[in-house]
Each structure stands twice: as C-alpha cells, then as structure tokens.
C-alpha cells in the first residue's frame, strides 16, 4: 500500500545553517499530492507546502520543496534555519484510492534549531 518515509526523527541545527528534511514515498498513483505540514508546539498542525507537479519547485514562508516522481521524493529545504523554525514537520501523501481526501502521514521529523 501507499506509504511515506521520513528517516530522521530528530534534526538538530545551528541557526543560519541550511535545512533539509527528507521525505520519500510509495504510491501507484501518478496524480498523488505530496504535502508538508508543520506543527508548532501548542498550535494546530498546518499546511506548509503541497505539490502534485513533477520537477516543479514549490515555495512558502522561506521553505521550498520539489516533487521528483522519478525518485519518489519531496524533500523540504530552507537556505538558513531560524530559531522560530523549531517544530515537528510531517510529510504526507494524498490517498488517491477512492478519492477520500485522506492523508497518509510519515512519522514526522522534529527540527530543533539552536543559537
């Protein structure tokens, strides 16, 4: 079945260094959407980025990701980490079977940015 893999459970960075959070996925559907959700402590998880277009860079709030269908990847990047980026980041895949709107989430990566 469909799945999402986020290999890193915890990423610790020093402020100002680049961010890269890995996400790979498995699906048989060529039209699947990939998402990055961010969950700040004591807030609701919310959408950061989404894409269904192969090889097109998507950007929002300083973060960017490019969906690569050839490698089934949707890595999240940022050029320079800020303290305020510390949060839990989920990669998610739309469940295209039956068009239910369900999302399949990875296990999440906690990003800790230190001074």
């Amino acid at each position: 079945g469909d799945s999402v893999t986020q290999k890193e459970g915890l990423v610790t960075l020093t402020e100002g260094l680049p961010v890269m959070l890995n996400c790979t996925y498995q699906t048989i559907y060529s039209n699947a959407f990939l998402f990055w959700y961010v969950h700040y402590l004591n807030e609701s998880p919310r959408l950061l980025l989404k894409s269904s277009t192969d090889n097109k860079r998507t950007e929002h709030q300083g973060f960017h990701a490019t969906l690569h269908k050839s490698s089934s990847s949707f890595h999240l990047q940022k050029s320079s980490a800020q303290l305020s980026d510390s949060a839990l980041y989920y990669c998610a895949l739309s469940d295209q079977a039956g068009n239910t709107g369900k999302l399949i989430f990875g296990l999440g990566t906690t990003l800790q940015v230190q001074p």
Binding site: G9, N31, A32, F33, F35, E43, S44, P45, R46, L47, K50, S52, Y90, S94, Q96, N99, T100, G101, K102, L103, F105, G106, L107, G108
Partner: protein, 112 residues
C-alpha cells in the same frame, strides 16, 4: 478565528469510562477526520466521514466509534477507555482530491 474547534482541550478519564471528544468546523467541508498523534507513530487515522450521517473506519479504528450528526460536527467516542488510548487527538476537515486538511488545536487525553 479558528475554523476547526475541538473540545475539551484536555481530558483525564478513568479506565473503563466513556469519553466523547467533540469537533466543530465552520469551513463547510464535506470530509472530517480524527487522527491520533503518538511519538514514534506520527499521525494515524482513526475514523473519517464524508458528510452528515456517514462514518468510515480509518487505519486504527479498534476501540473507537465516531458520529457525524451534521455537516459541522464530528465526535469521537471511546466507550470503554483504556490506558493505551492516552494520546493527543486531532480533528481535521477537508475536501476530497488533494485539498488541504485544516486541523483543530488537539485534545490531550489521559486515561488512568
């Protein structure tokens, strides 16, 4: 203002007791979802609904029931709560086809 509202925000229950978690959305979305969040497991889908009167099992439905009495409201019911159901529960609303899910602020449930 929050478009997905969960209540209560925190709940302590006793083993064997009944717990009802409520969710209200003002997005006019057809679909609503209940997820639980646990360290090492991410967000896992418990139940979801396509509209008033419908409920569907998600990936981990055992021990939970759901109720969708109206477009706006979706409840998660634990008839006989167990300590393994201690978790943070998130409700979300959305439409089908790759659209964004909008989450509530979560309910922290402790079953003692």
């Amino acid at each position: 203002e929050a478009a997905v509202t969960q209540s209560p925000r925190n709940k302590v229950a006793v083993t064997g007791g009944k717990v009802t978690l409520s969710c209200n959305q003002t997005n006019n979305h057809n679909n609503m979802y209940w997820y639980r969040q646990d360290t090492g497991h991410g967000l896992r889908l418990i139940h979801y609904s396509y509209g008033a009167g419908s409920t569907e099992k998600g990936d981990i439905p055992d021990g939970y029931k759901a109720s969708r009495p109206s477009q706006e409201n979706f409840s998660l019911i634990l008839e006989l709560a167990t300590p393994s159901q201690t978790s943070v529960y998130f409700c979300a609303s959305g439409d089908a086809g790759g659209n964004t899910l909008y989450f509530g602020a979560g309910t922290r449930l402790s079953v003692l």
